[in-house]
Symmetry: C2
Subunit: 343 residues, 2 copies
């Protein structure tokens, strides 16, 4: 029934004050400049009128758009929906909104999306696509646009970031297998040009070292992508070198699915012949045969954390650059068991 939109003046009129007073009362940072009782009246009026400040008008004045650009490779990757939700839910609490863009890891597309957002004056970029060298990030920095990385880290800590402790995750996986009695453990490592691939490999090595186990050359195989096909190729390759391992830590769940396929192809069974641990705890992997043991990553929380970092950044562009590292969690299912024979 309101029909027309409610403006600040309407609120002011209804509260019997001037619009500037209303403005002050409604802004938490300037509320102290106004009589407590008056402020209360304004807030009350705003509430009953369901006043919503117009971001366009505000933006015109403050040079803020209350909008954040989110760059992800591909929303269809099940990793990203929960991250995006975490981002969105958090931004919403502060009246911000997210513009989402899929880049498909395609440079031209990435640039197009970036420009589209920049021209809409986004207040910052949350980026999930960071490779080691990234011209877009440089440009954002030049234009003093805040950038927060999510789920990826660069080697130098030049950007705030929210991600999972990949190394710890891989260590959890290795420790679990060792506790089951495994001694010879293989690793299908993800691409080494992204931080997740590197971190998990390092964790694997650290985990083995912590148990005093050598990581021999043949135990690590490098995948060219986080795909099922690559997982299959790599494990087949590793098996071809002579199956001297009883367990595999896969760089992520898709690689683990590839391991399932490779084992089936070679007539081996999981977990009887080879235990498999995934990474990410994707939806529905508990429905696989066998249900996949995996490292659960708090994706939603990572997204939320990234959004918090962005909000910080927007209000304090020169603030501390933080790298939030969230702890992963081991989820034991049916794909891991003690090794068959004596090690």
């Amino acid at each position: 029934m309101p029909g027309r939109r409610v403006t600040l003046r309407d609120v002011a009129r209804s509260a019997g004050v001037h619009s500037s007073t209303a403005s002050r009362a409604l802004n938490a940072e300037r509320r102290h400049l106004v009589n407590g009782e008056t402020a209360e009246r304004v807030l009350e009026a705003a509430r009953t009128l369901e006043f919503r400040p117009d971001p366009a008008a505000r933006s015109l004045k403050t040079r803020r758009s209350y909008t954040v650009g989110v760059l992800i490779p591909d929303l269809n990757n099940p990793l990203f929906p929960p991250i995006v939700r975490g981002i969105e839910d958090t931004l919403t609490t502060q009246g911000f909104v997210a513009l989402m863009g899929n880049t498909d890891n395609d440079e031209a597309r990435e640039r197009r999306v970036f420009e589209g957002m920049r021209s809409r004056h986004v207040d910052g970029f949350i980026v999930a696509t960071a490779r080691q060298h990234h011209p877009l990030l440089d440009q954002a920095v030049r234009e003093e646009l805040p950038v927060v990385l999510v789920n990826r880290i660069l080697d130098d800590d030049s950007f705030p970031s929210a991600s999972v402790d990949d190394s710890m995750g891989a260590q959890l996986a290795v420790a679990h297998l060792i506790q089951l009695g495994h001694r010879r453990i293989a690793h299908i490592a993800g691409p080494q040009d992204v931080s997740t691939g590197r971190g998990r490999l390092r964790g694997f090595e650290l985990g083995m070292a912590a148990a005093g186990l050598p990581v021999e050359r043949g135990l690590v195989t490098f995948a060219n992508g986080f795909t099922r096909a690559e997982g299959q190729r790599c494990l087949v390759e590793a098996l071809a070198r002579g199956r001297d391992f009883t367990a595999v830590v896969a760089g992520n769940d898709l690689l683990a699915l590839g391991c399932y396929a490779a084992l089936e192809e070679k007539g081996l069974s999981c977990p009887e012949d080879v235990s498999v641990v995934g990474f990410n705890d994707m939806p529905f992997i508990d429905q696989l045969r066998p249900p996949l043991t995996s490292i659960r990553i708090p994706h939603y929380e990572i997204g939320a954390e990234a959004a918090f970092l962005m909000l910080d950044r927007i209000s304090q562009p020169r603030g501390l650059v933080q790298a939030k590292l969230l702890p992963p969690e081991l989820v034991v299912r049916g794909s891991t068991a003690p090794p068959r024979g004596p090690a």
Copy 2:
């Protein structure tokens, strides 16, 4: 290196005209009101100065934002990522951008998201959350904001919509089972207050009728939600009535997963004892045991189609109201087989 932002006045000054003239020259629709030569000069100036109109200012005046709000229940539902990508990819080609909001089917949250978008002057709403009665839609209509439904239809054709032919999908499933030799087929029907639930039930009935098979009372069980738990509950219930069916058409894949669980619980096997057909062809259901036969829905295309309808709507608010119905496709996998004994 520009440092300061370039405004319309800068362009005007540089071209030696008044800002209103510059504005006209830069707007393709009003360019004819201005001397061709002058216009050329303005455009040239704009180009060299790298002028970018401020969307906030423009939006404040025109109430247009080149932005479309997308309301979905929950991005984590694997249905939606491809739909959203279809929407986004299509909008992008016309310089539009999507604001995404998750409602969790919660009315308060829905309203908040809606308001946030409205206040950002979105040019329209693409809505995936339509139940039969929907105050938000009424409000949008009152404010003359275009609304397009995606993946849902209302009974009256009051809104443009893009969705799949649910009835045809269920008919495909039934026909497939009949061809395998099944005669007594059960249906786990989804909630009847959403169009997908109703459409699939109708398709089931039509498919049975087309084969001259009766749909007896006990063969249809109604789920209270599209969840695995409900699927399990319903099939257990159906089995308890006396297992006189050899196949089940589930209202969607999650319900089908529940059927798997129910069969396991009762010591029955799929497809030997009971064939199961899902609906949606979610990612990774080909990895289940057995891989699930399902009805594939062209989600990306549905999203793209919805975006096209929205763009039409924005340029012609009074245009024809179209309901696009895309055809689904049967994907046969391991969960369906001929019935064991003679019917």
